[in-house]
Amino acid sequence: MSYSKAKVEEILNNTISRRSFLKGLAASGVLSALPGGVLEANEDLNTKIPYSGEKSYQTFRNACPRNCYDTCSIKTYVKDGVMQFIEGAQESTYTRGGCCVKGNSYVKRVYSARRLKYPMMQVGGKGSGTWKRISWDQAIDIIAKKLLDMKKEDGTLLGAALTKYSGNFGITHYGIEGMFNSIGYTTRLAGTPCWPAGIDAQNLDMGDMWCNDPEEMKDSKFIILWGVNPAANSVHSMKYIYEAKSKGAKVVVIDPIFTETASKASQYLQIKTGTDGLLALGMAKIIIDAKLHDQKWLDAHSKGYKEYKAYLDKEVKLDDVSKVTGIPLAMIKELALSFAKAKPATVWMGYGMQRHTNGGSMIRAIDALVAVSGNIGKYAGGARYGHLNTWGFNYAALSQVKPEGSVGYTGPEGAKGEFAQVGGEKAAYTDRFLNINKTARELMSAKEPKVRLLWVACKNVFAQDFDRNQLIRAFQQLDLVVVADQFFNETAKWADIVLPVTTQFEEYDVNVSYWHYWLSINEQAIKPLFEIKSDLEIAAMLSKRMNQLSKGSCTFPQSVDSKEMTIKEFNPAIYEQFGIQSWEELKKGPVKAKAVIPYADGKFKTPSGKFEFYSDKALELFGSALPAYLEVRKPYDRFRMTSPHSRWSLHSQFQNLEWMEDFHPEPYVYINPDDAEEKMVDTDDMVAVFNRQGVLRVRAKVTDNVQKGTLLMYEQYYHNKIYNVNELVDDTSSDMGAFKTGAPGVALHDTFVNFKKL
């Protein structure tokens, strides 16, 4: 027997042939003769309309919920229920029609064959690799019973811990914390590994962290990009920087690494790592000595300027500044004077700079420099770090009450996190907060009760947290580890149960940025694949089962709709801030908050109501009222190692996609030529990078983009390689962070290592 390929394809592709074929099919009795199985006979076969599939696109509004400055507004194109492509929303002047390389790979991410598809249980024990499928009912039943058993045995649920951070910043994803709120007082890995020292610094100086609109930078006359690399990590901001430059503005990059952004700058200063604060102090001294400071503004709106100036006069020696920072004095002077003369001038401070033992003090010193120059409260000026000014949602998913009679922690109050905080009266009990930046040792040392259940969501602990060996021990001592994720990663490897969760295209949500001022709705564009569920659905299922087993044991709604939960996040203040009447207007595209220039009225939320060069709170908490120079951590090994973000990934996300693997298939250690020569290492040699924490084997790239004495390895996760740069990082704290987020940050870039050729 034979068949005609051409004839079949004519039926499939020619609408008239297909219509004719379907009519014959309906008449032939085929449908009633099919035995049925996974596929069923289509009783509603439509022979009237020539079938051509659903040819037209449906479009949906989405937003990128990743931990990124840009939080892109997205337009998604779907055909016959399948995502075809996405584009940046044209309506947002910030996203302006384009996503970054990571965002453009979202279709690949959603339809990645590597996604977690079903709830599964590691029956051979953590790390065994022996997995069985379990139904959602089974998974939730196991977890619910474990929680209730723990509550019965301990008299509290403090033995249940949650670690969740920035894997998804959608507002309804605070429903994960809401789920934990709804079962009682629990343990939280809290604080922030990201930017706490800088948050504290800005709050000490200005009483808030509130940056100018990045779109204003197009009108800045002088831009210092200080330890920030937007060409890699905030690509949409670059167009404003380019525009300013094309209009004559000077763009200066100060960074220990010659970055992609440095290559686009008017001037690049390769500063010695951890000395940025001293450079800022030196520049301020030069500006004041040249009488280019804004005395009028300082008199009206600052506190402690006199003490600050006295400190500069007495303690800051310009020759020392030059020597310590590695920047020639003439260059420092030229930079300081030209910065002071340009109006408006602005500084954008990156988050890497505050990941040092003196990180907070460096941000304070730069804030002070911008204040001295009179650029605080000015259009296109400002000491830019970030903001949470547009995050005033209801946090309805988060705000769940504790079950009646819940017993919790009575010790000192701890970390809270920086994004969503819900106020209210002080309760007799609180949750127990453990420092997220010391996850391994905190999990192991928590007592009365000890932690027995850990829920991991929106976070890849083994790629982000420190001291991997201790983390393995910590996970192994837990009775039950639940990991809710989109992909199987190193953390899932050490789980008992993995739960597959939705991408943003499979659920409703709402998103804003910690950098720009746009608001985007995130519509559900496609059905969740396989047996994947949203974090909210998981919480509802848990609530239902817990209440079946013990009525009143969980207050979370027992059925949820992510769209309804999203709508509940809006309030009149949000509508007012963004100039809309209803959330539904966002279906037409993202909207921007009404323009506000931070601190333009000269009012600050500090205790004095002024910009505080001299902060009593800083003195109380950190031992120095002024932004005084604090020396960075002393080396404990031969080379400094820095671990900045890569442009091919975002923490542990995206690098596992083939587009990114094509460009950056493996991790490298970047070594200065002088250091490489000393160790007889060439590009592409395998080297061992090691210190007292651990060892990594990686390929070398020799480049003078990094300075002598410093190695660079990107903070990345490779699904097919054992590589986590944090294996070399201890959990030494940065100087600040405890003020606003309850726990200090981590001095990631004060890591020291040695290396040798393999």
Binding site: K5, V30, A41, N42, A113, M120, K132, V498, K527
Partner: protein
């Protein structure tokens, strides 16, 4: 004639067993599907599922992804052009797929189900209306990727994975038998 009938019945039975095996979603249904092959090699229910998951499900990267798209279009993706081509074929054949846009149509279990129903139509109901589409489906699609799945799975197998090895051999034999039955005349 009797041999021919036996052969036809065995063809359907083998296909059904393969379909049920690859569509199994828990230890019990998997073991029942496995036992239906009456193989000499016996295996514990849990052990079989763990093995099956390692090969075809996950959560770690499976040895051989069970989707045609991975072999035809893109080693990393599901729901690609070839998946939508299979969707179009199913719809032209008069199938309704309840898991549309949830589990891609080119999952091995779904394709074996479609093929089983098409053979059933011809062998049991003597309805030939879809025969040409069935031949096309097999030769232009199934025969293109399932041998690659078998090869990948065989390449990745370890000592002690006999149960999966036996099933793959059953699938391979079935594909060879089907391949020799029909050819395109173009």
């Amino acid at each position: 004639m009797q041999n021919d009938l036996l052969s036809r019945s065995e063809r359907l039975a083998t296909l059904k067993r393969l379909r049920d095996f690859f569509n199994a979603h828990n230890s019990q249904t998997l073991k029942e599907a496995y036992d239906a092959f009456s193989l000499e090699h016996s295996i514990d229910e849990d052990e079989l599922e763990i093995l099956f998951n390692r090969y075809f499900v996950g959560p770690m990267e499976p040895i051989a992804d069970p989707f045609a798209s991975v072999y035809i279009d893109d080693p990393q993706s599901v729901m690609t052009q070839s998946t939508l081509h299979v969707r179009s074929l199913y719809e032209t054949m008069g199938f309704f797929y309840p898991l549309k846009n949830i589990v891609p149509e080119d999952h091995i279990g779904v394709e074996l189900d479609a093929y089983y129903q098409l053979i059933y139509l011809e062998e049991v109901k003597n309805v030939a209306y879809l025969s040409e589409l069935r031949y096309y489906f097999f030769h232009e699609h199934i025969a293109v990727w399932m041998p690659q799945l078998i090869e990948r799975a065989m390449h990745g197998r370890s000592e002690g994975d006999n149960a999966i090895h036996f099933i793959l051999n059953e699938l391979k034999s079935f594909l060879i038998r089907e391949t020799t039955t029909t050819r395109s005349h173009e």
